[in-house]
Subunit: 203 residues, 3 copies
Amino acid sequence: MITTSRTSPLLAYFAHPLALVESDDIGNGTRIWAFAHVMSGARVGKDCNLCDHCFVESGATLGDHVTVKNGVCIWDRVSIGDFVFVGPNAVFTNDPNPRAAIKKNRDQLAETVVREHATIGANATIVCGVEIGRYAFVGAGAVIIRPVLDFALMVGNPARHIGWMCACGHKLPLHQQAHDGFRFVCSHCRRSFIFAGGRPTFS
Amino acid sequence: MITTSRTSPLLAYFAHPLALVESDDIGNGTRIWAFAHVMSGARVGKDCNLCDHCFVESGATLGDHVTVKNGVCIWDRVSIGDFVFVGPNAVFTNDPNPRAAIKKNRDQLAETVVREHATIGANATIVCGVEIGRYAFVGAGAVIIRPVLDFALMVGNPARHIGWMCACGHKLPLHQQAHDGFRFVCSHCRRSFIFAGGRPTFS
Amino acid sequence: MITTSRTSPLLAYFAHPLALVESDDIGNGTRIWAFAHVMSGARVGKDCNLCDHCFVESGATLGDHVTVKNGVCIWDRVSIGDFVFVGPNAVFTNDPNPRAAIKKNRDQLAETVVREHATIGANATIVCGVEIGRYAFVGAGAVIIRPVLDFALMVGNPARHIGWMCACGHKLPLHQQAHDGFRFVCSHCRRSFIFAGGRPTFS
């Protein structure tokens, strides 16, 4: 059993004694837990929480207030916005056609962008090359192979769009398609929305 | 490369030199392997086997003789019964509507209970708030979103009920629905069952 | 935070200072990264890349030039051919009917064979007892429950056969079934193929 007592009083972020942190671009107030590894050249914002057994690769970027639960890898070419929640063992990718015999340049990899406040559910899989919209909600175990709209709730393999999710994490009283200009409120938190351009937005 | 030689002769359980064990509530004969982390306040019974890269959170409870394969996280509000098998990279959850910007109290999390002798297959996902019955068998890769009956065999995303599984790990000769009072034996191990109350039970 | 500086100048392979390597059967040029664990009795070929948080069990065998991304476990009775790519958090198994109360001998486990140049996608699940053919391509999140033909592209849960994938990682211009003797070239890399015996082969 490992027993540890070292702390890092000079850092403005917290790294567990059993974390491996090689990046010097980590924001204040961020916490990095045991057996996690943040590589040199990875960029992590402030007040993030990177749980045990996470991995953040050189070139990956995380905004502020991001929660990354256990066992998640954030690769080069993956960009995570502010206030994103990534559930345990959710899996990102960055090579659309991986073969061991073919080495790729960085520009042959495909980008993945997760917008502010989105949720990626536990054990979800994100096939690279997509954008996941603001406040989108990828359900646990979903396999995302196409872009995801703001506030969209996605489930299944491959994931399909089954509804819309409020900022409060509750389902909005709205069908997949509504008329442009339709106004409504979340029945849980009473936030006001308008449906415009094929998706809900705050009003 | 890490080379390790320390052992823990005074403990009644075994912790690998590269495990991180902070709980003082671990039963005799339990083994905890490399890069696993058992937090303070986690309760682990006797003769369990927690494999590499596992994580057991404060507030989680495991019974006796539980096998937890590699990379599994057992969260607060998850309760695992005696003789449960949790396959590699199976994923539990405890927040039904996670959003990074919303901090939850413990009583806002949803409980998951896995009853005695159940099997959770490799890479399965268990959405919180369900009970998984005794001897239930969640297939590899299944995504559980509803409660699971005793002995039920569940597969797919979302998981559907496709049969019943004996204590011996072989499929029972029984359709999803049978008449109450129907008696039969497992064709593999010859255990006797009766179908009653919508599910099989030992007779 | 762990800071490490030890290197392994006498080894013909590279092991990260935070890797745990117990096997003495590892080929030249192989790299083993942080928090990975290769057990005694595991056999790893040359020029492999075993990423962070991997686990290779006693009895597992890996060929040469194998890429194993983060968080993957290769168990006893799993055999991985040369130039195989295993995506992050892909999950293998070796017990077809796991129950915690039933201890199995090695000969009660089921073998899994992954042939040369195959790709196992991110977060895919491989139910044991199958062979995955040369150049097969298991999509991200797929759940494999049956043998996979050479060059076959498999997606979904359970995985179904939706096409054929070239050695270059691009889809072949070929339906699932073609006439024996049909000749064609990959529209991306111009490799020549013939369809014979129910599957494509190089010509």
